[in-house]
């Protein structure tokens, strides 16, 4: 401690400082107090489960078991890639699903957004209609489409009518050739409205003057799109791609309701496989390993997407 110089002039700032410190202190307590409820809940229901997923994946833990979990090293990971053909098939199915859904849904969403991005009578009504499947529960949607996809169901009778009887469709969900495609089609239908809205908000940030200038230069609608619209949508594109990819990789409900992973594993996905192993077959250690593989894959893909889309700037 230093000796306080007995001058009034030096006293002033010190007192100021002390008062300032106590205010700072109170602000810290206020900050900690107000973040505490959310912080504690996030630790309990996000951070701890993540750590658990990580640690359980190196054990043979079971959901209900008299024996305590035992450390088994990398066994679960080795098993997934070498001794579980259904896991490998699930990885393939998830990849196919994402590779089709991401570009198609993003492109269709953009097409719809361009269609409804104008001041015209009735346009709001169409926005609402395109968005209705998004607010409808995916469970409801899956059951509905399961019924429509039946061999003698609505989809096939519509195909029959539209092709004048030339083609009467397939047994969509029971044929390993078509089951995944059927789920892909329905999934795009359900969620495209969500991405239409995000594209739309991106479109509305592009200043109208740019279009006026382009029109003055005699640019065709297509040139206006490629030279004005598309460059203006870059930040939106990144967001749309990342959200669709993460959603697509997590494919679960549709499979659980419509096909249970069948026929012959044709629609099993990573998440479906993890839930089936961990919950139905009680092998929590193995399921945690699958979840961890999935999480790392999502992380890597998200990082790559960020990189790729950022580098073009």
């Amino acid at each position: 401690m230093t000796v306080t110089p007995p001058t009034v002039a030096a006293e002033e700032p010190r007192r100021e400082l002390r008062r300032f410190r106590s205010i700072k202190g109170r602000e810290t307590w206020a900050g900690l107090g107000m973040i505490a409820p959310a912080g504690i809940l996030l630790v309990l229901f996000l951070i701890i489960p993540v750590i658990l997923a990580f640690t359980l994946s190196f054990t043979n833990a079971r959901l209900i078991s008299p024996n305590p979990p035992r450390f088994v090293g990398m066994d679960n990971f080795v098993r997934a890639f070498t001794a579980d053909p259904l896991f490998v098939q699930s990885v393939g199915n998830t990849a196919v699903f994402a590779l089709v859904v991401v570009p198609v849904q993003a492109a269709l969403g953009l097409l719809l957004a361009v269609l409804v991005n104008r001041r015209m009578r009735g346009v709001t009504a169409f926005r609402v209609i395109f968005f209705i499947p998004v607010v409808t529960s995916i469970v409801v949607v899956s059951i509905l489409w399961k019924f429509m996809y039946q061999q003698d169901g609505l989809i096939n009778s519509m195909i029959d009518a539209l092709t004048f009887g030339l083609w009467s469709g397939a047994d969509w969900l029971n044929d390993p050739q078509t089951a995944l495609g059927a789920i892909i089609f329905m999934s795009i239908w359900q969620a495209v409205g969500f991405h239409m809205i995000i594209w739309l908000s991106g479109l509305q940030t592009i200043p109208e003057e740019l279009y006026e200038a382009a029109r003055m230069d005699g640019a065709s609608p297509w040139r206006q799109f490629t030279n004005v619209t598309w460059p203006g949508l870059r930040p939106t594109m990144v967001f749309v791609l990342v959200t669709i990819t993460i959603a697509a990789l997590g494919l679960f409900v549709q499979v659980d309701v419509m096909t249970q992973g069948g026929p012959q594993g044709a629609t099993s996905t990573i998440v479906f496989h993890a839930v089936r192993k961990g919950y139905e077959q009680q092998e929590i250690g193995y399921a945690a390993a699958i979840s961890l593989i999935f999480f790392v894959a999502v992380l890597i893909i998200a990082l790559i997407q960020r990189r790729v889309t950022r580098e073009k700037d």
Binding site: L52, G122, T136, G153, I284
Partner: protein, 317 residues
């Protein structure tokens, strides 16, 4: 359909008399473009609506007629033997009222408590200076990329061991295991990193001079949050409410795993009861209509807020 009507009104109102010849050809060209646009939108509109129209219409028909009508336009029209029998059948088969109550209860509490907890966190992260703020903010943003599916199974294992208070014969005791409770459906979903992020973003757009003025008047930080920030942040609260309402109402995987007691299950899981014996499709359609209608009505009333909420969730750097 309504677009034909709107199309004519547009034409009448906006283009009264096409004057000179060259202008006219340009205008007719534009009009043709407009008609094409309406045709395209209508085709898409039908594609988006037909499954739901089919669902509502089928819920009014007996099973035999549903299957029979599939071959014609009648599948989309309320023709033939129309009645509410399927709806009465649904009430006989499952405790619909209980399921609906459970879903409403869980959804309201999840959204309501979430709004309070997450907005307070957003306030602490955007307007208060405290040690560790930057670290916590970075952590919250980092947790955004953890998909719930990856922690769902370990989470079942975890909540099965959490302590809980129970009243047994008038005595308050504590027990272990959150399975088969309401809290297991609510508490894990209250704090939400994305909601915290949205609140933080929104609060940081409000001038800080308001806080300073209130501090000088001797207001506590909680008072500033409660009396100044909350009233000014209606759009942020609406956005978070809408974005958390849909997933809470649509919960499926989680309650399927952690709630076995019929009387605690939400509407989506209640669906399973219709596929246990022979499937009565009319009743399935009635049940799915019943649990879809409340959401659709809420959506149609607040559609403007819905759309801007989704848009707000996408507008970030």
């Amino acid at each position: 359909m309504s677009e034909t009507r709107t199309l004519t009104t547009t034409r009448d109102a906006r283009r009264p008399a096409p004057p000179a010849a060259p202008v006219r050809s340009e205008k007719s060209h534009r009009r043709r473009g407009k008609i094409l646009l309406y045709v395209a939108m209508s085709l898409f509109g039908m594609l988006f609506l037909f499954p739901l129209v089919f669902m509502f219409v089928s819920s009014l028909k007996p099973d035999a007629q549903i299957l029979q009508d599939v071959d014609s336009v009648n599948a989309f029209l309320p023709t033939g033997d129309i009645s509410l029998d399927n709806y009465f059948g649904v009430f006989d088969r499952v405790p619909v009222a209980q399921f609906l109550f459970n879903s409403v209860f869980v959804t309201v509490l999840t959204v309501g408590l979430g709004l309070i907890v997450n907005s307070m966190a957003g306030f602490a992260l955007s307007r208060l200076e405290w040690k560790g703020r930057i670290v916590v903010l970075a952590l919250v943003i980092a947790t955004l990329i953890v998909p719930f599916e990856t922690i769902a199974v370990p989470m079942v294992y975890w909540v099965a061991q959490l302590p809980t208070l129970v009243i047994e014969g008038g005595v308050l005791k504590y027990d272990f295991g959150w399975l088969n409770t309401y809290e297991v459906q609510i508490v894990p979903f209250i704090a939400n990193a994305f909601s915290i992020f949205l609140f933080t973003q929104y609060f940081s757009t409000i001038p800080k001079s308001l806080d300073e003025a209130a501090r000088i008047d001797g207001a506590s930080w909680f008072t500033i949050y409660r009396r100044i920030l909350v009233p000014l942040s209606g759009p942020a609260f609406a956005t978070v409410a809408i974005l958390t309402f849909l997933p809470a109402w649509n919960q499926y995987l989680w309650p399927l795993m952690v709630v076995q007691k019929e009387e605690l299950r939400p509407v989506m899981v209640g669906m399973q009861y219709f596929f246990q014996l022979n499937t009565a499709w009319g009743e399935v359609m009635a049940y799915t209509s019943l649990i879809t209608l409340p959401v659709l009505i809420v959506f149609l009333i607040f559609q403007r807020a819905f759309v801007s909420s989704i848009a707000a969730s996408g507008v970030k750097g």
